[in-house]
Structures are given as structure tokens and as C-alpha cells.
């Protein structure tokens, strides 16, 4: 399942959408092949929900097209699109039982009773809602409500399934488990799905591809590992995972070949940084890409850093260092730590990292 599949199930062509002069979506293009799960990941206000509303038909693009199986569907009202959405608050019908909620889309399609009964029963089994058929939404737990919302959406056999922050109301353990189950279900039924989320873990748990969005644009799209390991810029790097943004400077005598951080770290940037008048830069580096050493390293030879805090996050150990007045956070698997002595507060350590893991941006220095 790759993006190059010519028979795109869903295609967004250059869509743009503005509200009162505020550009919510700026020329977004996206292709989904049959059965593919794509996550739109970004902070609130990045346009991901607008994109979802365009696909559902609640909004119309100002420019560009939404294409479903080769048909331009702009102007087709939401109730005539075979696109099902799971809402953030689930939006279940409070006056209908679980069974009636699930049957709603089928009744709206005027399906004969014998047929919809069958399909509702099957879907109830599929989502482990057996025994809850006659309950009202108010009588269900959060996890059960979420499953009803999913059941109600997939029972109509939608061309596209849309999930709008569909897990944000669940507590963590339940969320992990539900994500796993849904991920299996989507693949088993081969449902083409667009997920909107601000939670990177949700995107990684469910998606074949992740589109990181920023200010109405898709900043980067690719397979999860690709986007994570090879972020296109510091925004994507900082949004996925935890990162340090360290103030650095390009050595004025090195021709852009040496970057220094604080009094002790210096390394050859890769790729080389274009020299600028004052040479101030941000060095973005993931917390997990840094390791520690008790002796000087290739990138850190003068003036050791000092441990100011070491906390356990369970499987990970988080260590906070101070070098001059710069704070560096790193995380490493607890199992990989051999020398616990150097993690004591105030011990002197040297950091080690691969210069290729850094993304370097210009910094306005005032």
C-alpha cells in the first residue's frame, strides 16, 4: 500500500479553505489508496479538522477538489456521501438504544429490515457490544460509547472512515487497547481511513502514513518511521517525540563547518550550515539521540556538563544536564545504563551524539 497507487480511493487536489480571511487550509494535496490508514497530525488550529470536514462534506473547499474514486464530490451534500465519521465526543443519539444507534445509517439508506438487523447484529458482535443492545448511551462507559460510535460508522460500509480525535476522551490504558483493536479491525475490513489527531502516539499506533500539518499545510507526509527518523524540518522533529532546542553558534572561522554549543560542545554540522552574519543557530536534537560518557567524546571535549536531575520514567531514564546556562535533556533506556555512578547529581559528564541527527535552524539573536 503506497502513495504511488494510481487508483486513488480518495484524493484531495490542492484544496484551500479560508474563514473570514483566515486561511485554515492552504493548498493541501493528499492521496489515499484503498484500505490505507492516514493520520493527519498537528496542533490545534493547523487545519486538520477542516480537512476532515471537507471530506465529510460539512464544508466546501474554496479552491481545489475532493475526489472520491475518481468522482469529484464537491457540492455533494454530506448525507449523500458514503463517508462515515466518528466524532470526538462520539455524538451518539441519546434517545436511541445501542442497537438503534448502530442501525441509524442503514435505516437512513432505506435498507430492508431483515437485512439491517443482520448487519447490526454482526457489527455488534464485531465490536464486542453483545448484551448492550438495549442500553441508552447514558448507560454506557466511555469505552463502550466509543465502540458504539465506531460500530455506527463502519456498519454502513463507508467508502471512507473519518476519526476525529476519537480516542482523546479515553484514559491511557483503555486508549492503547482500543487503538490496537481498531487498528486490527481496520486492516481486517480494509477500510480506507483518515484519522485526525494531535496525539503522535495515536498516529503511530494506527496509521500506514502520517501527514504532519502546520498552519494549513502538510509539512511532511510519509510512513511513520520515515517521518520520525527523517523529519523534513525542525517543526516535524519537535512535534514528533521529545527534542532539545539548544542555542548554538557557527564558528566564524570555520566557514560554516563547525557549530558550538555552550563552552564545551563543537561538531561539524551535516549538512554544512550557510554562514550568516552573526552565526546564531538553534540545534534541534531528540532527547533519545544523545548518550553520555564519563570521558570526553568526539563532539564534547572541553568543559564537562553537570547532571542536575535524573528521573526514572519506567523503561526510560530521563537525565537533565547543565552546560554553562544551557539545559540539555536526554532519555535513554534504563536497561542500557551500565555506569549509574555518572548519573548522580553534580557528576561531570560528556555528551555524545551523531551530528547527522541534528537539525539546525537560524536563530534570531537579540
Amino acid at each position: 500500500m503506497t502513495a504511488e497507487n494510481p487508483a486513488a480511493e480518495l484524493e484531495l487536489r490542492d484544496v484551500r479553505k479560508a474563514y473570514n480571511g483566515y486561511l485554515a487550509l492552504d493548498r493541501c494535496s493528499l492521496n489515499l489508496s484503498k484500505g490505507e490508514v492516514v493520520a493527519l497530525l498537528g496542533p490545534s488550529g493547523c487545519g486538520k479538522s477542516t480537512l476532515l470536514n471537507l471530506i465529510a462534506g460539512f464544508e466546501q473547499p474554496d479552491f481545489g477538489n475532493v475526489v472520491l474514486r475518481g468522482q469529484v464530490i464537491d457540492g455533494v451534500p454530506p448525507h449523500r456521501r458514503n463517508v462515515a465519521m466518528v466524532f470526538q465526543n462520539y455524538a451518539l443519539f441519546p434517545h436511541m438504544t445501542v442497537a438503534d444507534n448502530i442501525a441509524y445509517g442503514l435505516k437512513a439508506r432505506r435498507m430492508p429490515k431483515a437485512e439491517w438487523r443482520d448487519r447490526v447484529a454482526r457489527t455488534i458482535g464485531l465490536l464486542k457490544l453483545t448484551g448492550l443492545e438495549a442500553r441508552y448511551p447514558a448507560q454506557l462507559s466511555g469505552g463502550q460509547r466509543q465502540r458504539v460510535a465506531v460500530a455506527r460508522a463502519i456498519v454502513i460500509d463507508p467508502d471512507i472512515l473519518l476519526l476525529d480525535e476519537a480516542f482523546s476522551a479515553l484514559d491511557r490504558n483503555l486508549r492503547d487497547q482500543t487503538q490496537l483493536e481498531l487498528s486490527l479491525l481496520l486492516r481486517r475490513l480494509s477500510i480506507t481511513t483518515v484519522i485526525v489527531t494531535h496525539d503522535q502516539q495515536e498516529a503511530f499506533a494506527l496509521a500506514d502514513r502520517i501527514a504532519v500539518m502546520r498552519d494549513g499545510r502538510i509539512a511532511q507526509i510519509g510512513r511513520p518511521q520515515e517521518v520520525y527518523r527523517e523529519p523534513s524540518d525542525s517543526y516535524v522533529l519537535r512535534f514528533l517525540g521529545r527534542a532539545n532546542s539548544l542555542p548554538g553558534a557557527v564558528d566564524p572561522h570555520g566557514g560554516g563547518r563547525i557549530v558550538r554549543i555552550g563552552g564545551g560542545i563543537s561538531f561539524p554540522p551535516d549538512p554544512a550550515v550557510a554562514p550568516s552574519p552573526d552565526g546564531a543557530v538553534w540545534v534541534h536534537l531528540r532527547t533519545e539521540d544523545i548518550t553520555l560518557s564519563s570521558v570526553p567524546t568526539a563532539v564534547h571535549q572541553e568543559m564537562p556538563a553537570r547532571v542536575v536531575l535524573a528521573t526514572s520514567l519506567g523503561s526510560q531514564q530521563r537525565i537533565v544536564l547543565r552546560l554553562d546556562d544551557i539545559q540539555i535533556v536526554l532519555e535513554m533506556p534504563s536497561s542500557s545504563i551500565q555506569n549509574w555512578d555518572c548519573l548522580r547529581i553534580d557528576s561531570e559528564v560528556y555528551v555524545e551524539f551523531d551530528p547527522r541527527a541534528c537539525i539546525i535552524d537560524k536563530r534570531e539573536s537579540h
Binding site: 465529510a56 460539512f58 451534500p77 454530506p78 448525507h79 449523500r80 458514503n82 463517508v83 462515515a84 465519521m85 466524532f87 470526538q88 465526543n89 455524538a91 451518539l92 443519539f93 441519546p94 434517545h95 436511541m96 441509524y104 445509517g105 437512513a108 439508506r109 441508552y136 447514558a138 448507560q139 455506527r152 460508522a153 454502513i156
Partner: protein, 284 residues
């Protein structure tokens, strides 16, 4: 700190309600079992004769059926008018919503007498409406609306419309917009979304409105006196007539108790109706 005795908090309200409401009702109950005596006014007794009279006499039965029919008619008309109005309010902009709400509440700020005079100016035989109809040649003689059954219905509608709109509106406003979106998303058009989602979810509000309007119309005295006709007698003016003109305080008492029972019965029926038509509201 010592806890204040909780029942003390009931004193201010109790000081009002006991002498001004419970006591008169107690007198009413007592009167209803006393006996009317042409010579001696009200004679202490314990008899159900008054009840038998008001529940079997053809005239009183007519009064009750008139009243119940009128209350039902006004409730239905108010409901039919209130739905689009309340729906309009839920969809209007913030400013428009305030204006529409203010318009519906305005009659509550104005004395009922003033409003009746307003209606005389509009629908009286020499009123604006008839002038217009005569000028346009649509009628040859003025329409008799004021001081007739029709006038009373108009007055009642005007008086009780807010009591229908407000609970209905609160019910409609409670509907989560995303629920309506999900209905559309699942394939239901506007009409079906209204019939399958909006209408059932507004039942509690509609029933509350019907309760208020029905009880109000059933016991209204001012509107039938000022806008109605003696050819269509209803309960409250009849009670007044018995008490003041005929000096039959016991009969008036029995009529009053029957009216009270009717209003209570309506509440019981309405609650049963909600339990049947909106079962989801009862469970948690």
C-alpha cells in the same frame, strides 16, 4: 460551628406559602363539603352533594368539556406555532436570538388588562383588522372576533405562548450540534434528521410546555371575562359567578376542587407521557 437547624431555611418561603396558598386551599376544601343554604349562606356540613351536582349537572359538564377542549386546542396551536419559532431562535445569530427571545417574553412584562385593550384595538368590530378587511372589500360586515370564542383563543394564545416557547427552546438548545451532524453524516437528510432526532429529543420540552399552557388555559379567568363570550362558558368565570352572583360558595368550592384535581391529573398524565415517549430521560 453549630449546624443551623435545616428546617429554619423554610421559614421565609413558608411564611408566604402557608397563609397565602395552603390556607385558602384548605378553606376551598372545607367549603366544598359544606352546604349552600339560600337563607344562611354557607352551612357547616360534611356532604358530597356539591360534587355530585357539579359532576352530573349538564351545565357544569358542558363547562368542563368546554374548558378541556379549549385548553387542548390552545395547547396544540401554541405547540404548532412554537416549534418553528423556537427552531428559528436556535439557528439565529446572537443578536437576533436575543431580539426574538425578548419579543416572546415582552407580553410577560405588560399587564394583562393592557394587552386585552390592545387586542380590542386590533380585532374589535371597529378595530384595525376589520377596517382593513372592509376597505379591501374582503368582508361586507365586520368579523366578530372580539368577545367571541375566537377572541378568547387569540387572547389565550398570546398569554401562554411564552410558556410553550421557553421550555421547548431549552429542550432544542440542549441538542448537541454534533448529534445533528452525525445524523447527516450517516445519511439522513434535513427532514429525516428533524423527524428522527430533533423531534424526539424535544419531547420533554414540548410536554413541559403543554403542561404549563394546558393548566394555564384551564384555570384562566381574565381572558374569558375580557375577551370571551358567555355563550362559551369555562371553569374559572363559572366559579366566580357561583361564588359572587349566586352566593353558592359550596358549589364554587366543589368546582374549584375539581379544577385542582384536573390540573393535577394533567401533570400525572404528562409525566406518564414523558416516561413512554422519552424513556431515555429517566435512566442514567
Amino acid at each position: 460551628m453549630r449546624a443551623v437547624r435545616p428546617w429554619l431555611w423554610l421559614l421565609p418561603a413558608g411564611a408566604l406559602v402557608v397563609p397565602l396558598f395552603f390556607l385558602p386551599v384548605a378553606f376551598l376544601l372545607r367549603n366544598s363539603v359544606y352546604r349552600d343554604d339560600p337563607m344562611r349562606f354557607l352551612v357547616p356540613d360534611f356532604t358530597f352533594a356539591n360534587y355530585i351536582t357539579v359532576l352530573t349537572d349538564a351545565y357544569y359538564l358542558k363547562v368542563f368539556s368546554n374548558s378541556l377542549g379549549l385548553a387542548a386546542l390552545v395547547s396544540v396551536l401554541a405547540l404548532v406555532l412554537a416549534y418553528p419559532y423556537a427552531q428559528l431562535i436556535t439557528r439565529a445569530s446572537e443578536r437576533m436570538r436575543l431580539l426574538l427571545l425578548w419579543m416572546v417574553c415582552l407580553p410577560l412584562y405588560v399587564s394583562i388588562i393592557m394587552r386585552v385593550f390592545g387586542w380590542i384595538v386590533i380585532i374589535g368590530d371597529a378595530g384595525v383588522l376589520n377596517q382593513l378587511l372592509l376597505k379591501l372589500g374582503l368582508v361586507k360586515t365586520p368579523l366578530h372576533i372580539m368577545f367571541e370564542f375566537e377572541g378568547m383563543v387569540i387572547g389565550m394564545l398570546h398569554r401562554y405562548f411564552p410558556l410553550m416557547v421557553l421550555p421547548l427552546l431549552s429542550s432544542l438548545q440542549k441538542i448537541d450540534p454534533s448529534v445533528l451532524r452525525s445524523s447527516t453524516n450517516l445519511g439522513a437528510g434535513r427532514v429525516r434528521t428533524w423527524l428522527w432526532v430533533v423531534l424526539p429529543l424535544s419531547i420533554p420540552g414540548a410536554v413541559a410546555g403543554i403542561q404549563l399552557v394546558f393548566a394555564g388555559v384551564l384555570s384562566d379567568y381574565v381572558i374569558p371575562m375580557l375577551m370571551g363570550s358567555t355563550r362559551f362558558p369555562i371553569i374559572a368565570p363559572t366559579i366566580f359567578q357561583e361564588a359572587s352572583t349566586n352566593a353558592s360558595w359550596a358549589t364554587a368550592g366543589a368546582l374549584g376542587v375539581v379544577l385542582l384535581a384536573l390540573v393535577l391529573a394533567i401533570n400525572v398524565v404528562a409525566n406518564a407521557l414523558i416516561a413512554r415517549a422519552a424513556p431515555w430521560t429517566l435512566r442514567s
